[in-house]
Assembly symmetry: C2
C-alpha cells in the first residue's frame, strides 16, 4: 500500500526538540499526516506514492505559522505610509474600511492574502477582522490552516454598526465555523484594552472559555495606549487585562511592546502567549517588544506580519530577518535571537502561541503534513554552510517552491493550485482603482 505523497532529495530542517537536520531526507505522507521522516537509503527504491516530489537538493521544512495578521487588509497595501498613527488610522484606514469594506471585498482581499502567504511559505495563520465569515470562506477555499476570530470592538465597525451586537456576532461566527473544517478553528478577537470596555472584554473571554477558543487581543502596542490605560485604570495594559481576568493559557497578546518586568512576570505566570510583529511595530514607530525578555521568562512567542497596511507584505521570511536583526541592534549584541530561535518563533513556537503545536509547526511523525520546499539553487542561497542561517538571513518568500498543507499540495513549482490568482489580482486592482481620496493625498498612482 503506497503513500499519498513522498518528498525526497532535500535537506530536512525538522524543528523538532533536537532541531535535527537530515541530509538527503525522505518524508512519507499518508492521510494528511507525516508517517516517516528519515535519511533516504540510497540502496532502496523510493517508497511508492500517488505523488512524488523531488526537492532538487533544496530545503524541506515545516510550513511557517503567521501568528498575527489581518488578511483582507491586502486591499489597502500602501494606501498611506509614513504618517502619524492616528492620522493614518483616522484619515485613511478607518474611512477606507468604512467606505469599501463589505463581505465581498473582504473575501476578495482575503483570497489575495491567502495567495500571498502560500507563495511565501506560510501554511497556518491566525487572523482577526470584521466580516470574518468572508475571511473564513476564502481561507477554506485556499486550503490553508487557520485560527480565525471575528472582531469585537465597542465602536461601530464594518458589518456591525451596533457595537452591542459585537459579542453575539463573534459567538455566532465561532459556532458556525467550529465544525466546518479540520483546518479552521474559530477564535474570539477583541480589538484592544482601549477600544473594548472591561465588561466587553470579560464577556468575550467568557464566551471564548465556554467554547474552548483562543482569545486574541492587541495589547500594549503604543505609548499612547499605555498612557490611556494608566490614566483610566492606574495600571499598565497587561496588569489591567490580568485584573479583569482575561489572561490565561488560551490568550494571545499581540504586539506587547510597552511592558515592564512585572508585566512579563504576569504574562509568564498566566501562561499567556505573545505574537511579535517587528515590521509593523517598526513601520508604525510603535516601539520594540522585549522579546528576549519574554523568551527568558519562558513565554511562547510567535511571529506575525500584522496586516498589509502596516508592513506592507505578508512575507514571514522577511519577518524572521527583521526579528533576528532588530533585537541584536537593540541589545548591541549579535548573539541575541540567533537563527534557530527565530526559526522556532516562525514555526513551532508560533504554533504553540496559537494552540496548534500538537498539529503543526515541526516535522515529526504523527503530526499534520504541513511542509514547504525551498529552492536553494539560486545565487543568493549559494554556498550553503548552514541551512538555518539561509532560511532566516538570506531567503525570501519567493524562494518557496512547493507547499503542502495537511497532506494536500496547494503550491507546486510556484503555481497556486487552489486560487485563480490572475482573476483575483485583476479584481483587486479594479478595487484599488475605486479607492480614491484627494490628489493631495497621492492615493492613486495616476494622481501622483
Amino acid at each position: 500500500m503506497g503513500y499519498d505523497i513522498v518528498i525526497h532529495n532535500g535537506t530536512i530542517i525538522t524543528v523538532n526538540t533536537e532541531f535535527d537536520i537530515i541530509a538527503n531526507g525522505l518524508i512519507c505522507i499518508k492521510d494528511g499526516k507525516l508517517q516517516r521522516i528519515e535519511t533516504a537509503d540510497p540502496h532502496l527504491p523510493l517508497p511508492q506514492a500517488e505523488d512524488t516530489i523531488d526537492a532538487d537538493g533544496g530545503v524541506i521544512m515545516p510550513g511557517l505559522v503567521n501568528a498575527h495578521t489581518h488578511l483582507p487588509m491586502t486591499l489597502f497595501r500602501g494606501l498611506a505610509d509614513d504618517l502619524p498613527l492616528l492620522e493614518w488610522l483616522n484619515d485613511y484606514i478607518f474611512p477606507a474600511e468604512s467606505k469599501h469594506i463589505n463581505p465581498e471585498s473582504t473575501r476578495l482581499g482575503s483570497l489575495l492574502g491567502c495567495a500571498e502567504i502560500i507563495l511565501s511559505g506560510t501554511t497556518t495563520c491566525c487572523d482577526g477582522y470584521f466580516y470574518e465569515d468572508a475571511v473564513a470562506s476564502a481561507v477554506y477555499e485556499s486550503g490553508l490552516r487557520a485560527i480565525l476570530g471575528q472582531g469585537v470592538i465597542d465602536f461601530p465597525a464594518p458589518g456591525v454598526p451596533d457595537p452591542s451586537a459585537n459579542i453575539k456576532n463573534a459567538v455566532a461566527f465561532a459556532e458556525k465555523w467550529q465544525h466546518v473544517s479540520a483546518l479552521i478553528a474559530p477564535s474570539i478577537f477583541c480589538h484592544s484594552p482601549y477600544a473594548c470596555s472591561a465588561e466587553t472584554l470579560r464577556r468575550a473571554k467568557s464566551a471564548a472559555i465556554s467554547q474552548g477558543l483562543l482569545f486574541q487581543i492587541h495589547a500594549a502596542e503604543t505609548k499612547a495606549e499605555w498612557d490611556q490605560i494608566q490614566s483610566e485604570h492606574q495600571t499598565s495594559p497587561v496588569q489591567y487585562l490580568d485584573r479583569i481576568g482575561v489572561l490565561d493559557e488560551n490568550t494571545l497578546l499581540v504586539h506587547v511592546i510597552w511592558v515592564d518586568d512585572n508585566d512579563i512576570e504576569i504574562i509568564a505566570k498566566r501562561n499567556a502567549k505573545v505574537a511579535h510583529n517587528p515590521e509593523s511595530n517598526m513601520k508604525l514607530g510603535s516601539g520594540i517588544a522585549p522579546v528576549p525578555g519574554f523568551l527568558a521568562a519562558g513565554i511562547a512567542v510567535g511571529l506575525g506580519t500584522d496586516g498589509c497596511a502596516s508592513n506592507n507584505n505578508l512575507d514571514l521570511f522577511q519577518e524572521m530577518d527583521f526579528a533576528a536583526k532588530l533585537h541584536k541592534v537593540n541589545a548591541l549584541d549579535p548573539t541575541v535571537m540567533d537563527a534557530r530561535t527565530v526559526l522556532k518563533m516562525a514555526t513551532i513556537d508560533g504554533a504553540k502561541a496559537i494552540g496548534l503545536d500538537k498539529d503543526t509547526g515541526s516535522l515529526e511523525t504523527g503530526k499534520q503534513a504541513d511542509v514547504i520546499i525551498i529552492d536553494t539553487r539560486q545565487p543568493h542561497l549559494v554556498p550553503m554552510y548552514n541551512p538555518i542561517s539561509h532560511i532566516v538571513y538570506s531567503a525570501c518568500g519567493s524562494d518557496v517552491r512547493d507547499v503542502v498543507v495537511a497532506g494536500k499540495s496547494i503550491l507546486r513549482n510556484r503555481k497556486l493550485l487552489t486560487i485563480d490568482i490572475e482573476e483575483i489580482m485583476e479584481k483587486v486592482s479594479r478595487f484599488g482603482a475605486s479607492v480614491f481620496y484627494s490628489p493631495s493625498n497621492s492615493v492613486n498612482a495616476n494622481t501622483l
Copy 2:
C-alpha cells in the same frame, strides 16, 4: 534613425529633482544614454528601435546604487552567524579568508555577487576588497557599473603579506583600471582608522587625491573602535580622521554609527559622504547610525548592503525596507525616513555619495541609461496606490524583471545575459564544501 532600446508600457519613477512619476511612460535609449523620458502618446506608433521592451504595466525606475559592499564575500555567506564581532572575525572570517581567498576564488565569488545584485536590481556598486583586480575582472565581465577599491590595511592580508606594499598595490590597481572601461572607476579603500596608521591613511588619501579617486573607509562602526581611538588619540574616530586631513568631498565614510553632533557637523562641513548599511549594523549588533541627523545636516547618504557574511544577501530592496523601518522605530516616529527619502538613498543619493550622480541614480535625459523594470503583476504588489511605497515596503529583489546598464541589457525576463550562473553556482558550491572547520562549529550542513 532608430534608437537602441525603447522601453514602454510602465509607470516611470524618475527620481529626478521633482520626483516625477510618469504613468504610461516611454523611454528611448541611444548610445548608452537616456534620450527621451516622457508619457507615451497613444495616437503615435512606438519610436523605432533595435530592441523594444514592454514593461507590461510594471514600474520603470533607475537601477539601484549599492554604496558599500564586498562582492567576493558571497563565498562566506552564512559561514558563521550570531557570534560576538571579534569571535566572528578572528575565528571564522579572517581564517577562512586567509586559507581560501586567492585571485581565482575572489573572481568566482565576485561573479556570484554580480549575478546576485543584477538579479535584485542594482546597476552600480561601490566595492572594496583585497585582490580587487579579480573583483574588477568579474565586474567588467558582468556589465555592471562600479567604483572598486583595492584594500589598504596595516596587517598581512590576502595577496599582500607585507603591509608596507599595501599602498603601492592599491595605486597600481587604480592605475591599471583607470582607463579600462567607462563603467569602472578605481578607488582607494582604507580598512579603518583602527587598522591603518595615521601615516598610512595620509599616504593613501594623498594617492587618491593625486589620481582624483574616491577614498573609502569604514569609520565609527563599533563602540570598541570609538573606545580605541579615544584611548589612542583622545578624540572620536571622525574627528581623528579630520585631524589627519582625510575628510573631503571625495571621502566616503562607511557605517558612521558612533558619532555625536560635532562629528556630524564636521562631516557636513567637509562635504564628506556616508554609506549606511542598516542590515549589517543590526546583524553585527554595531548600533544605529543617526541617519536622520545626517540628512538634516545636508550630508549625502547612500545605502549599502555590506558583504554577504554580515547581511546575508545583497538585496537593496530589503535594505530599503530595513532603512525605512529601523529609523522609524528608533525615533518612535513613523514619519521619519519616508519612502521617497529611502528610495533616493538607494538611487540618486547613493550615486552622489560615490561621485557618480552626474552619470546615474535617476532617469533624466542625457544621463547614462541605467534602468530596471519591476514586475508588479504579483500578489504582494497588488493593488498599487503608490509605486514608491511598493518599491520600499512591499517589493523584493526577485521582483526585478529586466536590467539595463549604459544602454545594454544584462538581465532580461530574469535571465542573466552576461554570466553563466549555473556554472558559477556549481563552482561556488564546490568551494563551500571545501571550507571546513570543526563539527562543533556547524560549518557544513552535513555536520549539523
